[in-house]
Subunit: 182 residues, 2 copies
DNA sequence: ACCTGAACACCGTTCAAGT
DNA sequence: ACCTGAACACCGTTCAAGT
């Protein structure tokens, strides 16, 4: 019984707002996510939200950070190339399930920091595959752009993404062997 | 002297609307491009525009088609791989100069048809490089996604795009030699 | 001291009233 | 017959008035 008692009219909080906003985004997309709709869903006046968030932009950032934090962990494949491939395919699938968040993540200046574990896992795997740090960093940036390019906009294709991902890794890692000794 | 005489108050047309709209988009971005702003720039009532366009969405489509039609022609390099690379680098530069159009092109269902010559040039070059038609078509789709992914959103890098483009072409064309005889 | 209704300055689009 | 002012149903955000 976690229903609020009759003497406890409402307890608005940032996390309640984020949850309500995410519900709208998941159900009806980003365009339907208006401040007024969130307030209506929570049974509050629209002005009340501004006690807990500074503006709509910040709210979108919070939502995108949540989705980014739920990006999949590293795959278990012993081959680092396949480890990268599988983690990014899983990332593709995750973002495909939350398409509304892709646009926010793409504009975000510092938001990919919420996807820090994906970045770190990728850099580690690419290093294990013998790629120098600067090329690994560039590859990681490019994978991110490739993923967002595939997931946003019309006619997304998981197959095309996998194909591009594989060929890009082939091109980058080339004939590079997984050398166990330095 | 092409100033309108005093007895000729206005002659609104679709192309006048598109020109005015593009001016606003180039100067202040897509967010500033409102139907009312276009009307104000033309000295008309906002309702009058709807005699020549069906809605804002259609207007955006017309603008994006214009930008797509101005994508650069094929480069002159004798090596098909370099021909593809240089045409897509030029396409990157063109779209970078008209960033506001990238988003519209990305959503567009049929709009890439306005970029038909880029598609055709690329398919021809990839065929000349020995790629079978289905792989060439996939490569072309992926290049488009890669370009839009790079150009939209934060921190675009021409260098990263070139790097990804080159490595992708390497991965796709592999050791494939340019065979002159079937 | 805290909350929020009503207002402000915008949107895209429609339609009845004007010429 | 053609054009368009004013209205409608929305926005995000602010602030003065209410408890």
């Amino acid at each position: 019984m976690n229903s609020s008692g009759p003497g406890r009219p409402r307890a608005l909080s940032r996390s309640l707002i984020v949850t309500a906003a995410r519900g709208i985004a998941e159900e009806e997309g980003l365009a339907a996510l208006t401040v007024r709709r969130v307030a209506r869903r929570l049974g509050t006046g629209q002005a009340s939200l501004y006690r807990h968030i500074t503006d709509r932009e910040q709210l979108l950032g919070l939502l995108a950070a949540e989705v980014a934090a739920q990006l999949p962990p590293a795959a278990a494949d012993p081959d680092p190339r396949q480890r990268v491939r599988h983690q990014w395919l899983a990332a593709h699938d995750h973002l495909s399930r939350h398409l509304w968040a892709a646009g926010i993540l793409a504009e975000g200046t510092h938001l990919p920091s919420a996807a820090a574990h994906l970045t770190e896992d990728t850099l580690a795997a690419l290093a294990a595959a013998g790629l120098p740090p600067d090329e690994a960093a560039r590859t990681q940036r490019v994978l991110w752009k490739l993923l967002l390019g595939h997931v946003r906009g019309a006619r997304p294709s998981r197959f095309d993404f996998d194909w591009a991902l594989s060929h890009l890794l082939d091109g980058v890692l080339g004939g590079r062997a997984v050398t166990l000794a330095g």
